[in-house]
């Protein structure tokens, strides 16, 4: 019972955070709302007994990615998003219905196919299990991710190092 209550607490926080992400005009608020969502998701992972994923999730998303977002927002000193001129503002009337239809379709799949299955006690989310899987069966993808990160790092350094001239809008 306690778990169900926790699930709903986290779920409501996550959805609230997500709604705030897409509705706040100030990007800093958006980023902080994203942190809220991410923390709630970490809670959900714990409820799913994926402890390792939960903690790595916090370290990577909350600890690094959103900090980077904040860093860039501050670096560029973006204050508020102005009201859109031109045709872009009609996107709201296109995007929201599309999202709702998508939600309907996804939910109908979830309801139909996975009734009467529940979270069960398992130990597959522990560090030992994931570590063993990562360094034996999935060692190649794991190593490839290191190359991916290296390439991304080089790309980021190159992008930020190059001299760019400001072109008028």
């Amino acid at each position: 019972m306690l778990q169900n209550i926790l699930f709903f607490v986290f779920a409501i926080l996550a959805v609230a955070g997500a709604v705030m992400v897409i509705s706040f005009r100030n990007p800093v608020y958006c980023a902080l709302s994203l942190v809220l969502t991410l923390f709630s998701l970490a809670g959900e992972y714990v409820l799913l007994l994926a402890h390792f994923i939960a903690i790595v999730h916090i370290a990577v998303y909350a600890g690094a990615i959103v900090v980077l977002f904040l860093f860039v927002i501050m670096l560029l000193n973006i204050r508020r998003e102005e009201r859109a001129p031109g045709s872009i503002k009609y996107m709201v009337y296109l995007g929201v219905p599309l999202g709702l239809v998508l939600l309907y379709e996804l939910v109908s799949i979830g309801f139909r196919e996975f009734t009467d299955v529940y979270v069960k006690a398992t130990d597959i989310g522990t560090v030992e299990k994931i570590g063993q899987a990562l360094f034996s069966k999935y060692v190649l993808p794991f190593e490839i991710t290191s190359i991916l990160l290296l390439v991304a790092m080089l790309g980021a350094i190159y992008l930020s190092k190059q001299k760019l001239e400001i072109v008028s809008k």
């Binding site: 045709s87 996107m91 995007g95 599309l98 998508l102 379709e105 109908s108 799949i109």
Partner: protein, 632 residues
């Protein structure tokens, strides 16, 4: 033998790769790398030669090269008596020329590139002579053509050099075209490209009636590569390249590829008397034709170039009449003395600040003694003065030619007279008489460094004594060279019939050719040293002949008028009308159609990322909807 034989071509290739990649860094040091690879290659060739002398030959595949369906081309080599001779010439003379090049290319900024090309050339030439199938032969054949092009146009900043390179390449293409078709004919009838299988099945070609066609087409390739009439025009122009290149490619090795090829295919060629007759005719004509042009030319290297063409004609006479061993013998001695002549000419040019006009030389003997003496050794050899090497090989060919048909002998001997005359003219005008050197140049005349003169001396020794490997029985020798090569030409023997020539007649013929040689020298002596006969007066007296010869029979002009210009005009028409009007028109029309359509569709492309995302979502929704409806 196979455990080291593959190193022989691989080493020059390695040298080429190293020099090609690091040439810019190594600069002149690349010469030593090139020389090292050549030297080791030569030593290995000598070792192989030792084995071949004991009767050990090798014909096998080192690895599979190309496999496509039924066709498979192994990377196979054949080392027998014929190819080992060629390998020794290529690596030995090649090594000496490499050594010489170190001195000659000293200070040239492109030295690394030069040595890379030179090594690559040696590799290609070795592939040509060592291959045991037609494809490798063709690889080498085209490879040497490519290197020749690259090296003729080595000083590509000079327009005449790059044009000469192009000319050589295009002229060679004409011959190679015929050569390729010849290969196709053989392959389509026999289904194989390996020599051993071809030679074993020549009767199939005879039955199919294509033996003459196939051998003639192969000979067309030889005509192009070995600069025979009518495809000889590129060789004189090839003198635009650096002199060691002229020595290596355009005298000693590459141009002899045609002779080698005919000799190698002796079982095939000897089956077709028609082809043999054509070869003899072309060879004879070229020998005389080129010699006449050499008579009046004033450029030291061009005279040598015409002389090369003429000598190649002799070799073709040799292989054409069926005296394959004699042809190869002449090939070898020619390699020695012609390489020497070119290197000597290079040394002269080195001394003369790159002057090539012999009218601006004269009296050089005392100033560059080593060059002059070695040059004269080669002169005596090419003129056919006994006991220099050229005498034995040329006489061998002439003797066999007489047996084939006396008229061939007559022309050959006439050619010998011309040869000794123009070579003597060259020597006398260059090294003796009054100095006509420009004073500015005269101050700088100096002997070349040892790295250049040592190859000259080695080659001079070879030019003098090289003939003794094949002293004919007539003169008390045992004709060892011919016996050594005999196993290769066994297959052809059965098809050849030599008329018997009496002993006395042979001595007579030999005497006549020696007299002719001496006569040519004497004539030149009178004209250019004693000046009792005025060369200018003679030129005036036979004004029209002189002009004709001086302008090289207007062959280049004829080619331009009848072949090149029509092709150019046709190409222009294709360009101006067919390409720019018809084809471009079609392409533009297609483009316009697409522009029309895209004008309508591009309204979808708003440029807003969001709208693209929205389209994407619509697509996802559609797929999901399909999946949902499917399940219900």
């Amino acid at each position: 033998m196979e455990h080291f034989i593959w190193l022989i071509p691989l080493l020059p290739l390695g040298g080429a790769v190293i020099n090609g990649i690091f040439g810019r860094l190594l600069k002149e040091k690349s010469g030593w790398i090139a020389n090292l690879t050549m030297f080791v290659s030569f030593i290995l060739s000598l070792r192989a030669f030792g084995l071949v002398r004991q009767g050990v030959t090798f014909d096998g595949n080192l690895f599979e090269w190309i496999v496509a369906g039924k066709f498979h081309a192994p990377f196979g080599v054949r080392v027998d008596q014929l190819s080992i001779i060629m390998m020794l010439i290529v690596t030995g003379v090649g090594f000496l020329i490499h050594l010489y090049s170190i001195g000659y290319m000293h200070g040239d900024p492109g030295a690394g590139r030069f040595f890379a090309y030179l090594n690559l050339f040696i590799f290609a030439m070795l592939m040509l002579v060592m291959g045991n199938n037609l494809l490798l032969l063709y690889l080498g054949w085209e490879g040497v053509g490519l290197c020749s092009y690259l090296l003729i146009g080595f000083w590509h900043e000079k327009e005449s050099a790059s044009k000469a390179g192009l000319k050589a390449f295009i002229t060679n293409r004409v011959g190679d075209f015929g050569f390729a078709i010849g290969i196709f004919i053989i392959f389509s009838h026999l289904g194989t490209i390996a020599y051993s299988q071809i030679f074993a099945q020549t009767d199939v070609l005879v039955k199919a009636g294509v033996v003459t066609a196939a051998s003639l087409l192969l000979f067309v390739g030889a005509v192009g590569k070995s600069a025979q009439f009518p495809l000889y025009v590129w060789l004189p122009d090839a003198m635009e390249g650096p002199t060691p290149v002229s020595a290596l490619i355009h005298a000693a090795t590459m141009v002899t590829a045609g002779v080698y090829m005919v000799a190698r295919f002796n079982p095939l060629f000897s089956l077709s008397p028609t082809t043999m007759a054509v070869i003899v005719s072309v060879g004879t004509f070229t020998a005389i034709f080129a010699a006449t042009m050499a008579l009046v030319n004033k450029d030291i290297k061009r005279v040598l170039a015409y002389s090369t063409i003429s000598q190649l004609g002799y070799m073709f006479i040799g292989v054409g009449v069926g005296a394959y061993a004699a042809g190869i013998f002449h090939l070898m001695t020619h390699a020695f003395f012609k390489a020497l002549l070119f290197l000597g000419a290079g040394s002269v040019m080195h001394a003369m600040s790159n002057e090539t006009n012999i009218e601006k030389m004269g009296g050089l003997y005392s100033k560059i003694k080593i060059t002059a003496i070695t040059f004269m050794a080669a002169w005596l050899a090419i003129s056919g003065i006994p006991p220099f090497s050229g005498f034995f090989s040329k006489d061998e060919i002439l003797a066999k030619a007489f047996a084939y048909h006396p008229i061939v002998w007559v022309f050959g001997t006439l050619g010998a007279l011309l040869t000794s005359f123009y070579m003597s003219r060259l020597v006398f005008v260059t090294f003796f008489g009054k100095s006509r050197v420009e004073p500015k140049v005269e101050k700088h005349i100096h002997e070349s460094p040892y790295v250049m003169t040592i190859p000259l001396m080695v080659l001079a020794v070879l030019a003098v004594i090289g003939g003794f490997v094949g002293v004919p029985e007539l003169l008390g020798g045992n004709n060892g060279f011919e016996h050594f090569l005999a196993p290769v030409f066994e297959g052809a023997e059965a098809n050849l019939h030599f008329a018997h020539v009496s002993l006395g007649l042979e001595y007579g013929l030999m005497g006549i050719s020696v007299l002719m040689a001496l006569g040519g020298i004497w004539l030149a002596y009178l004209m250019y040293i004693r000046e009792t006969i005025s060369a200018d007066a003679l030129a005036n007296r036979f004004h029209r002949t002189y002009t004709l010869l001086y302008n090289k029979y207007y062959v280049d002009e004829i080619y331009f008028a009848f072949i090149i210009n029509p092709i150019l005009a046709f190409s222009r028409w294709l360009w101006n009308f067919v390409d720019s009007t018809v084809i471009d028109g079609i392409a533009n029309l297609l483009g316009k159609i697409f522009i029309l359509f895209s004008y309508i569709y591009r309204r979808v492309q708003t440029g807003y990322v969001q709208s693209y995302a929205a389209f994407l979502v619509v697509g996802v929704l559609a797929i999901l909807a399909y999946y949902l409806l499917q399940a219900f």
